[in-house]
């Protein structure tokens, strides 16, 4: 009998352990996409990840590479330090929208402005998940959270921040894309964006970030399928999916 070809399996860059994420939470999906990219690029032995403070605080238990835990909001500054000390390593930070778009806004803006050669995966779930569903800077107008039970009121809390568009104005930011994982076709596109963001770093081009729109069924009070639909219906119209700052230089493969 001819040897069977392996079509699907666990990426080596992901450890064989159950995660603590809630049912329907896309953190695990995005972890897997990152792990597949790390495997495909064959960079696992030189990759260092930064776990945030947020629901992904335990990401160091899931990625099968060296990891460092950063204080809330500081992941891209910690990533900067690692990359400067070990320029041949591949450094990625994995950050939520509280971590990156709220308490860590200064760090992300300046990492991008300096053109740090790092890869940032930014999980936008329009809420602070870990602390129990408070309003984030990315919370949509009218969206209810535990700190805006009547829905976000722009007169009090302003409008949601489109971090990707904001960072794209900085010359140091080389590649900025926004993707979603609410269905398979988008999930595959998200993976291509993540791969590009790692390739930018491999090519030494500068700062790369992929914003991934994610559901938070638990704190949105929706079932997992409803939450995925909510991303499509409410988030994507406000947070358009596109390669905001595509890399046009030669040599960058985009599958």
């Amino acid at each position: 009998m001819a040897a069977m070809k392996r079509l699907f399996g666990r990426p080596e860059a992901l450890r064989d352990v159950p995660t603590h994420y809630c049912p329907g939470c896309p953190h695990g999906i995005v972890h897997r996409l990152i792990a597949e990219v790390i495997d495909e690029l064959e960079i696992r032995e030189k990759t260092i990840g930064i776990a945030p403070v947020g629901c992904a605080v335990l990401a160091y238990n899931y990625f099968n590479c060296d990891m460092q835990e950063a204080a809330h909001g500081r992941a891209s500054a910690v990533a900067t330090g690692i990359k400067r000390a070990l320029p041949d390593s591949i450094v990625f930070s994995y950050q939520g929208d509280g971590d990156l778009a709220s308490i860590g806004t200064a760090e992300i803006v300046h990492a991008a402005a300096r053109g740090e050669n790092i890869t940032v995966i930014f999980i936008n779930n329009a809420i602070y998940g870990m602390t129990g569903g408070q309003m984030a800077p990315t919370t949509l107008v009218g969206q209810r959270t535990t700190t805006c039970p009547d829905g976000r009121d722009p007169r009090l809390a302003g409008f949601p921040i489109r971090i990707s568009e904001m960072l794209a104005t900085l010359d140091g930011a080389v590649y900025i894309a926004r993707a979603s994982v609410h269905n398979i076709s988008h999930l595959l596109k998200a993976k291509r964006c993540i791969k590009t963001a790692f390739q930018v770093q491999l090519n030494g081009e500068g700062f790369a970030m992929v914003e991934v729109l994610c559901a938070c069924p638990t704190n949105w009070g929706l079932s997992a399928p409803e939450a995925m639909k909510w991303v499509e219906k409410n988030m994507i119209p406000y947070y358009p999916l596109w390669e905001i700052k595509p890399l046009l230089k030669e040599g960058v493969v985009r599958d």
Binding site: V57, A71, H72, G73, S102, G132, Q134, T146, T147, P149
Partner: protein, 394 residues
């Protein structure tokens, strides 16, 4: 009529904040404080308070916004824990030196790293020299009472100092308890209307807050700050007397428990005082001469009361729920020991660091500790001064 309710510490603090009805609250969520902010935001949307509630992007901004609001003449409050308090560091000193009567609830949680969400006092102990009054609570009742008294203390015309009211994370913040709460109008009367002394935009009396202050006056301003702290003890006691008339519950800077004839005692703050009291009760039934000194107000440091309470004792164990890494015990140990050295015959003092990162300390641990102290009285051998309770070392 005051009401008996069942509440978690966080609910009790949020309730106190509703009754205080501050003009401005600026806060960022952090475990185990989060619930306070959440409950308070539902009071805001239910229009039970008139508060401007600002969901700022970090604790640094929470304290900065509180500083701005307070200087503008508002009654400003916030709440935080652990890394949130650490992130406020720069500005808490500024709040104190500008003499802004902000009241902040600190739900004690171990400071990273390693990252941990459970109780110890490493967060507030680190802020002990920031110029804030610090009041530690033994249970939810005290947290509630301390918040309300905190407003009167902070805003006292001779003080104008910010106040931190702490309670132990999870142990108090997330545990249900019976407590007595006051009627809304009683709290309103007790705290009175806030009359800021030098608010911004008082057109007749223009002011500048926080100008450059070099070697010509900085020292005098710091001396004034120290002086305010020095007299704060008296004012805290006066406020407690008034509060007792209203609530029937009495508070001092410290709380001696069976110390009159005690030979050995613990000095402790926070929820562990409750556990230790239960141990004292048990040991007293066996006729043991044991006692306890709970420190309620750690800043200003009540050295007179501590000296008075600990005189005549033979052995005193001073419990710290945070390490100072000074290699000479925790902060409570250092200060209590240095205060009682002025006694003619100071007791033997031992430093016990315990409960870091939420490590539980139960009746058995404390009974064992009292037993060890009695052994020392018996043998006269103090042994190791610096001790750790409940840590695995081998």
């Amino acid at each position: 009529m005051p009401k008996k309710v069942i509440m978690k510490g966080n609910e009790a603090v949020a309730l106190a904040m509703r009754q205080i009805n501050p003009n401005v609250v600026a806060a960022y969520p952090i475990t185990p404080q989060t619930e306070i902010v959440q409950i308070f935001s539902s009071f805001v949307s239910d229009e039970l308070v008139d508060t401007e509630f600002v969901t700022v992007e970090s604790e640094h901004s929470a304290m900065s916004a509180s500083i701005g609001a307070s200087a503008a003449g508002a009654r400003a409050m916030t709440a935080t824990s652990a890394n949130g308090l650490a992130f406020m560091w720069e500005v808490i000193y500024i709040a104190a030196s500008l003499r802004l009567p902000i009241v902040m609830a600190v739900v004690n949680r171990a400071l990273s790293g390693p990252i941990n969400i459970h109780c110890d006092h490493s967060d507030s102990m680190g802020a002990r020299d920031s110029g804030w009054i610090q009041i530690y609570s033994e249970n939810a009742q005290e947290a509630y009472d301390n918040m309300i008294q905190g407003i009167r203390i902070a805003e006292h015309e001779d003080l104008k100092l910010p106040v931190m009211v702490t309670m132990d994370g999870f142990i108090i913040s997330h545990a249900m308890e019976n407590l007595m709460v006051l009627e809304d109008d009683k709290v309103e009367d007790f705290i009175g209307e806030y009359k800021p002394q030098y608010p911004l935009l008082d057109i007749e009396n223009p002011v500048t807050y926080g100008p450059l202050d070099l070697y010509d006056f900085y020292f005098e301003h710091k001396r004034q700050q120290a002086e305010a702290m020095r007299i704060a003890g008296r004012i805290i006691k006066n406020v407690a007397d008034d509060y007792e008339k209203l609530s029937g519950r009495s508070y001092g800077l410290v709380e001696p428990y069976y110390l009159e004839d005690a030979k050995v005692a613990l000095v402790v703050l926070g929820s562990t005082a409750g556990t230790a009291k239960a141990c004292v009760d048990e040991l007293r039934l066996e006729g043991k001469k044991v006692g306890l000194l709970k420190i309620r107000v750690f800043r200003p440091f009540p050295y007179d009361e501590i000296i008075e309470a600990l005189k005549g004792l033979k052995v005193v164990a001073i419990m710290d729920r945070s390490d100072s890494f000074s290699s000479f015990g925790g902060p409570v140990f250092n200060e209590v020991r240095s205060a009682i050295l002025s006694l003619e015959r100071p007791p033997i003092t031992l430093s016990y660091i315990y409960g870091l990162g939420g490590r539980d300390v139960n009746l058995k641990d404390i009974l064992g500790l009292y037993h060890d102290l009695e052994e020392i009285v018996f043998s006269g051998e103090p042994g190791e001064v610096l001790r750790y309770l409940g840590v695995r070392e081998s």
